[in-house]
Symmetry: C2
Subunit: 375 residues, 2 copies
């Protein structure tokens, strides 16, 4: 019951590494960015759109899917893959972050988290066992342990209590996973500890003792400054087993990804490419570009002339600005296709730079390109 993960190359100047792991639904090359399919759909995109953009693995949200449409709707399909028509690997989160960020938390106890649904106010108890069971019903390839997230800022006392509860829950998650999951579904532990490097290290070590197939850093991108996020990652990542994938949950900007890879991270997920697409913001090799800007009104050029995505191959800035300002549904899809393509191809470029041991130079060129004007 471990993930066959192998590191193929390491950067000699940074902690960056590239490799691959195998799941029942296909291989995943790392470092990898996972588009977020909250409700069983990466918003505005089909699985074919994701494949064309080069997506290898997507994320599903346990909290959301448990509430809507509910496990009893997905179970007859044998899981999320068939339900949503995505044949590739799926990672599901545990619900811990959404209970903290989206639901109304009623009670956090040793047993689990009691919360009110953000949709209809209904009351639910999510225990570590139940989170794993839901993820098994979703037929997830990578299951995440239920964790307790805390806000920023938080006291050392709260951070310590949350990490210790998370560690005890991790043991219960592991027991359920060993008893009930299919043999090739992996379980990842989630490091907590707030913004306290020593607590993060305590968490990393405690979870390491539980010998998970992979590890994640949770509770980041909760409002802290970027430097602090990087400092925490830098403190915790080296303490995680080097032969297991390391996943930074819910992060982040292209710059964040480049920096976290340099510190040894292998996996990422974030709603930013799709959410910002829906808000008219495009990611490009030269930085971001807001399509509602009046200067694009008659601009016949594509978003990024170096981009090979469907949107850049076929549509102009003038057309995309028109669709966006008219709130046409097609805007959301075309914009999302570009941004997901950008993130996925950034990771492919990162893997190649690591494989050729020129990650430091890649990182310098990445920042240099951003000094120009994206428009």
């Amino acid at each position: 019951m471990t993930l066959s993960f192998s590191v193929h190359a390491r950067s000699s100047e940074t902690a960056a590494r590239c490799g691959a792991f195998q799941t029942a639904h296909g291989q995943v090359k790392t470092p990898v960015f996972m588009p977020v399919g909250t409700l069983g759909t990466v918003k505005a995109l089909t699985p074919e759109d994701l494949k064309e953009a080069g997506a290898q693995i997507i994320l599903g949200n346990t909290y959301h899917l448990y509430l809507r449409p509910g496990c009893e709707v997905i179970a007859p399909f044998g899981g999320l893959h068939d339900f949503m028509h995505w044949p590739g690997p799926i990672l599901t989160d545990s619900g811990g972050f959404q209970i903290f960020s989206l639901a109304t938390l009623l009670k956090m106890s040793e047993d689990g988290a009691t919360f009110r649904s953000h949709i209809d106010g209904s009351r639910h108890l999510l225990t570590p066992e139940k989170s794993i069971e839901i993820q098994i019903t979703l037929d997830s390839d990578i299951i995440m342990c239920l964790d307790q997230c805390i806000g920023y800022p938080a006291s050392r006392e709260d951070a310590r209590a949350a990490l210790e509860l998370t560690t005890r829950w991790a043991q219960r998650c592991k027991t359920t996973w060993q008893a009930k999951a299919r043999p090739d579904a992996a379980l990842f532990g989630i490091v907590q500890g707030g913004m306290f490097p020593d607590l993060r290290q305590q968490s990393a070590k405690a979870l390491g003792d539980l010998d998970f197939p992979g590890y994640a850093l949770g509770g980041l991108s909760v409002g802290e400054p970027t430097d602090l996020m990087l400092e925490i990652a830098e403190a915790a990542l080296p303490l995680l087993p080097a032969d297991r994938p390391r996943y930074i949950m819910g992060v982040g900007t292209p710059e964040n990804l480049v920096e976290l890879v340099a510190r040894g991270a292998d996996m990422f997920d974030c709603v930013m490419p799709t959410r910002n697409a829906r808000n008219g913001q495009f990611f490009t090799s030269r930085g971001t570009l807001n399509i509602s800007n009046a200067r694009f009104r008659q601009d016949t050029a594509p978003i990024d002339s170096t981009c090979t995505c469907y949107t850049c191959r076929n549509y102009s800035r003038a057309y995309l600005r028109h669709l966006y300002t008219a709130r046409e549904l097609l805007a959301y899809r075309l914009n999302s296709i570009h941004n997901i393509h950008y993130y996925i191809h950034l990771m492919a470029d990162i893997r190649q730079a690591i494989a050729e041991d020129r990650y430091h130079a890649f990182r310098q060129a990445f920042y240099r390109a951003r000094q120009k004007d994206a428009g």
Copy 2:
């Protein structure tokens, strides 16, 4: 400056006929349904989606495109085809119907229609000449004359005045088209006359004298009962030149199309398949189906098991219901793909039935299938 239209087969029991016409952007087989691309996009769909569904020609709305994004944005692309990435034929309407239905009409004079934009309240004058010039800028393959639409019910006096103004405007449209349009762009006259068969006949004859490459019936589907709409079509269609395509504007349900084809109509456009898709209603060979119905919650079957569209090949009713109830953007696309596919394939089936001179039997089978339960 005429459209090379040829009739290939006629139904011996009805007035149905099948044929084809040629445009600079491709051939169109008739009877044909034209998806509506109001603002330079058939809502929620890409041109590739339309091609996969079998669309031959689409419609653009002059009123909408003139206001948003404006001719000066589309002109640098050489017209609507390149702007929206649709290489096939395009028909544009004249703006007459939207001035009547959507804008605030300030003044209708011999010169033209003065109206307030429904978007920003700005004041505009649309003359016959200007409507044609806008459509030429859009590089439309089939240009429509500017007409005056009236409501339902309307007095005989109002109906007569509108049709006579429409006839005088048609002459002015023709003059502008002859002077300025590319030689292979066709111009269609629009028959008015309200719900008065004799006025419709008067209009048809007057326009026939102007010798247009094609003819349309305008001002239908404005609230009148279906029987009256069919009666009007039945009165007017036989008076239009048999060697020119006959287009019924803005109609209608699948049943309407089957009936109007039987009365000799060749072309249709309607927002119904896409608008109803966005409201969760699917068209199927067994009638309509509303996906929000609770009975579809765990239904693993496709919308229509006989349908070959992308949506029916890959997604279940349970998934589509989930997307729709969660208001996920993908719902609008998947639902629209199915409904457009349904309309387009209905017309293909109609053409085949006419070619094999079994249109009467086809029509009977069409209604028989609808007596069953679509769900």
